[in-house]
């Protein structure tokens, strides 16, 4: 039941905002709906805590330790982003970059996007998963092109085509999956695509077919994860869309896509019993991490910079999942969490920073601590956190990942070392002059909403020194599940 509420609230919000999105209270309404969703999710989570993983609506939906924390995370970041987008969009509106109609579109699409992601996370049906991913793509395409500038249109177009084609591959993969499944499960309508059922019989699925299926699924969903060399849409979309959208894209959508990949990986690995899928993930992960790091070195646009950093981190997470085993999976899940928290908070501060300086070019942004210390320190701490500086949580996961890699696959560590080192140099040499130094720009008209930033950073910090047992238990269970 509460699953339906969780799915329904954002849809309702999308509807309402489509109607009243042009009103003055639209932003508040948006935040309100997100908050309601968050509350609903909290109830759902409590229920899962009490009764363990649950299946609902003829097994069409299910919640287990793997997706429950992702759902919670999505709801939370969705809410904080809504909070942040309130003043941010106000300022954009004042500066005449957006009309009220666009705001309406923005708000309703935002809710729709959330709904799509919840569907993707909660569904048990690989087909529905695909549908949800496609829906998420479509809604965000409109968000990316919100400014209707040449650049934003181009970015959105590339995003649309690349992810559309990718998702088509994923569909073919799904079809192959179904094809393999119906030989085992028979053709009783829906069940042949239910993940739980597939997982139960994964041993008997035809390995050759699943191998092919995995390739298509990996390429398909991997495009949305932003794995190199399928990543090309990502920096454009992040840089040209409105900042809140960049935040949710980086913070949530990538996670959801990766979630889909991992679900598939579990099935395939169980079926073909070889390490092939893991090796593929490791390869993609390393490539993304290294390429992302070197791309970082040459960035001038602040949002592009952090977009590439997302690619790098997604690479690290994928790599960790590729290694597999309880510890690496644990680390990967932890990294998913802290990355989305940190990255979204960074995008918040980066958005305000570029608003303060009236440019996204980093050479134009200077001396933030002078203008508004909160933005400056937020950006500095956020960057340090994402660069894996303890005591922030990113360090915890990188600690586990690196030590595991050193032990299991020593040959990969040089690449990781290069990636992390170059990324550190690249980001920090850009962030430092933005935060420190002199500047004479005036402060913002609206007070920036930095409460979300510091909440996120506080949580990341907390995860660095103390992981609540409940969360740790989920991670462990999920890690076991992923194997």
């Amino acid at each position: 039941m509460d699953i339906l509420i969780v799915l329904g609230l954002p849809l309702l919000g999308a509807l309402l905002l489509a109607l009243f999105g042009a009103r003055r209270f639209a932003a508040e309404l948006n935040a309100g709906m997100s908050f309601a969703t968050l509350v609903a999710v909290v109830f759902l989570v409590l229920r899962v805590l009490r009764h363990g993983s649950l299946l609902a609506l003829q097994e069409q939906f299910f919640v287990d330790s793997f997706n429950v924390f992702l759902v919670a995370l999505t709801a939370f970041v969705g809410f904080t982003t809504a909070l942040f987008s309130r003043p941010y969009m106000r300022i954009e509106q004042q500066r005449g970059r957006l009309g009220t109609q666009r705001l309406r579109l923005y708000h309703s699409m935002y809710q729709l996007f959330m709904a799509a992601m919840f569907l993707a996370l909660l569904t048990n049906n690989m087909g529905l998963l695909w549908v949800a991913m496609e829906a998420a793509t479509l809604s965000t395409v409109l968000l990316v092109s919100l400014y209707r500038t040449r650049a934003s249109l181009e970015a959105a177009w590339k995003y649309f085509i690349l992810c559309g084609v990718g998702i088509a591959q994923a569909l073919f993969g799904t079809i192959l999956l179904y094809f393999a499944a119906e030989h085992v499960l028979g053709r009783q309508g829906m069940t042949a695509l239910l993940w739980t059922h597939l997982n139960a019989v994964k041993g008997q699925l035809e390995p050759r077919v699943l191998g092919l299926a995995f390739v298509f699924l990996l390429v398909g969903y991997g495009t949305k994860v932003g794995l190199a060399p399928l990543h090309n849409w990502l920096p454009d979309a992040h840089a040209e869309g409105p900042t809140p959208v960049s935040a949710v894209l980086s913070g949530l959508l990538l996670n959801v896509a990766l979630y889909a990949v991992i679900r598939c990986k579990v099935l395939v690995e169980g079926s073909i019993g070889s390490y092939l899928p893991g090796r593929m993930l490791m390869g993609f992960g390393l490539l993304s991490a290294v390429l992302g790091a070197f791309f970082l070195w040459r960035q001038r646009d602040i949002k592009r910079l952090f977009a590439y950093s997302s690619i790098e981190h997604m690479g690290i997470i994928t790599f960790a999942f590729g290694i597999g085993g309880p510890i690496a999976n644990f680390a990967a899940l932890l990294h998913m969490t802290v990355h989305s928290l940190t990255k979204s908070s960074i995008f918040f501060t980066a958005g305000h920073a570029s608003q303060t300086a009236h440019t996204q070019q980093m050479d134009g942004i200077r001396g933030l601590v002078g203008i508004s210390p909160t933005v400056g320190w937020g950006l500095m701490l956020g960057s340090l956190a994402i660069l894996g500086m303890p005591p922030f949580g990113v360090f915890a996961s990188e600690f586990l990942i690196l030590t595991t890699a050193m032990r299991e696959h020593p040959w990969t560590t040089p690449f990781l070392l290069i990636a992390l080192g170059v990324a550190f140099g690249a980001i920090f040499r850009k962030v430092q002059p933005m935060v420190f130094g002199e500047s004479d720009a005036p402060p913002l008209s609206h007070p920036p909403a930095l409460v979300p930033v510091f909440i996120h950073l506080a949580m990341v910090l907390a995860l660095g020194v103390y992981i609540p047992p409940m969360l740790a238990e989920w991670y462990r269970a999920a890690a076991r599940l992923i194997g």
Binding site: V131, S145, F160, V165, Y178, M190
Partner: protein, 222 residues
Amino acid sequence: MPHSNHWIVPSLNLLASILLLISFAMLSRRRTQRLITLFAWQGLVLFTSTCLVAYSSGQKEMYYSAGLTLMLKVIALPWILHRLIQRLGAQWDSELLVNIPTTMLVGLVLVIFAFGLAQPISRMATTITRNTIGIALAVIFLAFLMMITRRKAVTQVIGFLAMENGLFFAATSATYGMPMVIELGIALDLLVGFFILGIFFFQIREQFDSLDLSHLEALKEE
């Protein structure tokens, strides 16, 4: 198998090969109008094949999806595309990135590769339409190739839709179609996506006053 279908299999294979032929034709066409017509034909073939499979397997809901195909891919989309092109005046896809003979050769290689891939699957397929899946895969590859080689927005979209066709064919021929809900979802996404595309065309046009993708190359690592 409810019916003795000695004539269905050959005719399905025939349709499949027609589908492949059409894809090749699309690869070779320059005029956008022609592409659209071919796309419509592809939809028609798809419709027929789906009906055949539905008939032979006696699955009622596959008729729905067949109807959906007819509505969307044979009538609606081509019509809208036609109107768009009239409005935007983008009849010609002047120069390709790669010249046509080369494209054809590459296409040929791809088809062989696709068949090679599909072999194991076809062997284990119990459905009457086992060896069509290779063709579906080939159609997808060819569509992909077309998207890579064309440089007009519209043609890329057509390529995209063609790929969708291939997928649909794979779904029907290899597996008697996906569950209905999924079909609907897919169709819905397709429709929405297509409308979004329509909006895009106009916006791109008013921003760049052309649908030539060469204008959409500003965002890059300078």
